[in-house]
């Protein structure tokens, strides 16, 4: 215990005097959380929360164009700009990228629909050989930026179709009601009533009752916390190689004691660092991200499970760092192998891109990444209010990973000297 304490103090002093190492460990992940969350949040908002600027040219100036405009505004997705009123100007603006989309309502569009209603009503009672088929259809022009994603275009067109269909029906009913009034002398109670026989109710399916919704913060904070923890491989492996290069490791090998004391002290100090990283990332999610207009991080309802996940993830990261520090010979090897392997494990584990959005084969492969185990455990706690029992499979896997990496490092080090 005395030697372990001495070794822990030494590791701590060496670490806190390595300023560039500390910057990598703390400042970089905080910066990444903020930047990536902002980027992902705005990407998500572009098709959901934030308003899409639409150039709207109203050549109709009647019920159709006005109702369509109102509907688009009511949807809370679109922001209408009516500054331009010619097709060529609109095309120019969209082509230049100033607007993603422009909608041009043709002149007399409402009247054309009105004119169509009477033959439509007549068609209901007319024999099949006398039905009117030659309707004039108003053509709504939608100008889109060619670089706009198809999903975005589909969102806009789908919204337009919904509104025009509603308005068309309303006009139809209005005219129909007028005609019925002419025939019966009474006004049917159809006008201005929304024709909605089916309504949609969206419920987020959680295993337990919660009001937390997954968002960019709920994904990015745990994701980049895992990444930061595993990025400890760089300073940790570098520390071990430096110790070997300057001979202090050689001296340690000639001192009575077990090599596990050396590994134990590194584990304790770097585990402390990963836990500090975790706390900082959580604080960033709660206090800093909201300053950028991002959603606040919600921690779920089981803080103990959260702490255990952080510790298990930290242990796995430290174990991996020790293994890389043991098997690599130079700073260059450790730097390249360490960073590239962590980036690959992060990609597989769903840090950069959520696992559910990956191809099926990659989703299956993702389970080999310890970063995925930690991330899934955080998701369980943040999004499903998971408790210790719920996260047991993930934290067990992380702990087993730590044991295996330490054992490999321990025996590899012994074998390395026998190989001389």
């Amino acid at each position: 215990m005395y030697k372990l304490k001495a070794s822990v103090i030494k590791e701590f002093l060496v670490l806190i005097r390595d300023i560039p190492g500390l910057i990598i460990l703390f400042a970089m992940p905080i910066a990444m959380i903020i930047v990536v969350t902002l980027v992902q949040d705005s990407t998500l908002k572009s098709i959901s929360d934030s308003k899409i600027k639409i150039l709207y040219i109203d050549n109709d100036n009647d019920i159709l164009s006005k109702s369509l405009k109102e509907g688009l505004l009511k949807s809370d997705i679109f922001e209408i700009d009516t500054a331009i009123n010619t097709f060529s100007q609109a095309k120019k603006e969209v082509a230049s990228g100033k607007y993603r989309i422009a909608i041009i309502i043709p002149a007399d569009a409402t009247n054309t629909i009105r004119k169509n209603v009477k033959p439509i009503v007549n068609n209901i009672f007319a024999p099949s050989n006398k039905k009117e088929t030659n309707f004039k259809k108003p053509e709504i022009i939608i100008l889109t930026d060619p670089t706009t994603k198809n999903t975005f275009r589909q969102t806009v067109i789908s919204n337009l179709q919904t509104y025009t269909s509603k308005i068309e029906t309303q006009i139809l009913f209005k005219i129909l009601a007028e005609q019925m009034e002419e025939l019966t002398g009474t006004t049917p109670d159809l006008i201005d009533k929304p024709i909605e026989t089916i309504v949609f109710k969206e419920i987020l399916a959680y295993e337990k009752e919660t009001s937390i919704k997954p968002n960019s913060t709920q994904h990015n904070v745990p994701a980049w916390t895992m990444f930061a923890m595993f990025f400890i491989v760089i300073p940790l492996a570098s520390n071990m190689i430096h110790e070997r290069d300057n001979g202090s490791f050689f001296r340690l090998l000639t001192i009575p004691g077990n090599y596990l004391t050396v590994l134990g002290s590194k584990t304790i100090v770097y585990l402390g660092i990963t836990f500090l990283q975790f706390i900082l990332m959580i604080l960033t999610g709660i206090f800093i991200l909201p300053l950028f207009g991002l959603p606040v991080l919600n921690l779920g309802t089981h803080p103990l499970a959260l702490i255990i996940t952080a510790l298990a993830s930290g242990l796995a990261a430290v174990g991996y760092g020790i293994l890389v520090g043991t098997i690599t010979e130079t700073h260059e090897q450790a730097g390249v192998f360490g960073s590239v392997s962590v980036i690959i494990l992060a990609s597989l584990g769903g840090i950069w891109f959520p696992v559910y959005a990956m191809p099926a084969i990659m989703q299956k492969i993702s389970i080999i990444s310890p970063l995925n185990w930690g991330l899934e455990s955080f998701y369980d706690i943040f999004l499903k209010n998971g408790n210790i029992t719920d996260i047991l499979p993930e934290i067990s896997a992380l702990f087993v990973f730590f044991i295996i990496t330490i054992l490999i490092a321990y025996f590899y080090e012994g074998a390395k000297r026998l190989r001389f």
């Binding site: 005395y2 060496v14 005097r17 300057n246 001296r251 000639t254 001192i255 000297r417």
Partner: protein, 244 residues
């Protein structure tokens, strides 16, 4: 105290002997110099004496304990001073010495005393709280030495302890090593400073191409070979002093 029985070493991926059939007996209280050119096999022998890796063949005994099987016991009685500055550059001298002293199991109070004692002896007391990376080469060498003697080892293994430093610092170190030896510590020392070895060592062995080519007490060896000094003897035996 130390017995090397026909030890040999062939490194992995090599077909040549780094050390080839060395046998030595080093008695308690001796200052034994293991001398030779670069690549002669000194550091390989030194590393095997420390138990860093085992010999390919042969046995090494320290206090009748086998380095191959009883290294844990041997580590308690040896002190090692590697050729490189085996210290943490971002820690102060005191922090380095406290760390290595504690790893040797020295109690805190005793450690404080011996650290102050040795820092005083080597004239480094006023620099005790300065980081090693700010030290000169000679100062680093002295701290490197102190880290290996804090626990008063019975056997002190020194690999080129005064390499790369000025003559004054080297003299200081050798003088203190003599005193340590006078206190009962056996010293095994590798060097290519032959003049220094001649003055410092009670016994020497010259290694060339992994083999001992001569061993004995320096004055006797010089006299027998009718040479004026150890360097001349060395030159006559190896035919090459370019790396010495």
């Amino acid at each position: 105290m130390v017995r090397l029985e026909n030890i040999s070493k062939i490194y992995k991926n090599s077909t040549e002997f780094a050390v080839n059939g060395i046998s030595l007996n080093i008695n308690k209280g001796e200052i034994f110099g293991l001398l030779g050119t670069n690549g002669a096999g000194k550091t390989t022998t030194f590393s095997m004496l420390c138990g860093l890796f085992p010999p390919t063949t042969g046995e090494i005994y320290i206090n009748k304990l086998s380095v191959r099987t009883q290294i844990s016991e041997i580590k308690k009685i040896i002190g090692v001073v590697p050729q490189s500055i085996a210290l943490y550059p971002t820690l102060t001298a005191k922090e380095n010495l406290f760390f290595f002293g504690k790893m040797y199991g020295l109690p805190k109070n005793e450690l404080k005393k011996v650290t102050e004692h040795w820092l005083g002896i080597f004239g480094l007391s006023q620099y005790a709280d300065k980081k090693i990376k700010t030290y000169s080469g000679g100062m680093k060498r002295r701290i490197n030495l102190i880290a290996g003697i804090l626990h008063k080892p019975e056997l002190l293994l020194l690999d080129e302890p005064a390499v790369g430093i000025d003559a004054h610092s080297r003299l200081e170190i050798m003088k203190e090593l003599k005193k340590i030896n006078a206190g009962g510590t056996t010293i095994i020392y590798t060097s290519h400073y032959l003049e220094e070895a001649e003055k410092f060592c009670t016994d020497i062995a010259i290694i060339d191409k992994g083999k001992i080519i001569i061993q004995g007490k320096p004055p006797e060896l010089i006299k027998e070979a009718a040479c004026s000094n150890l360097e001349e003897l060395f030159f006559n035996l190896t035919g090459n002093n370019t790396n010495v």
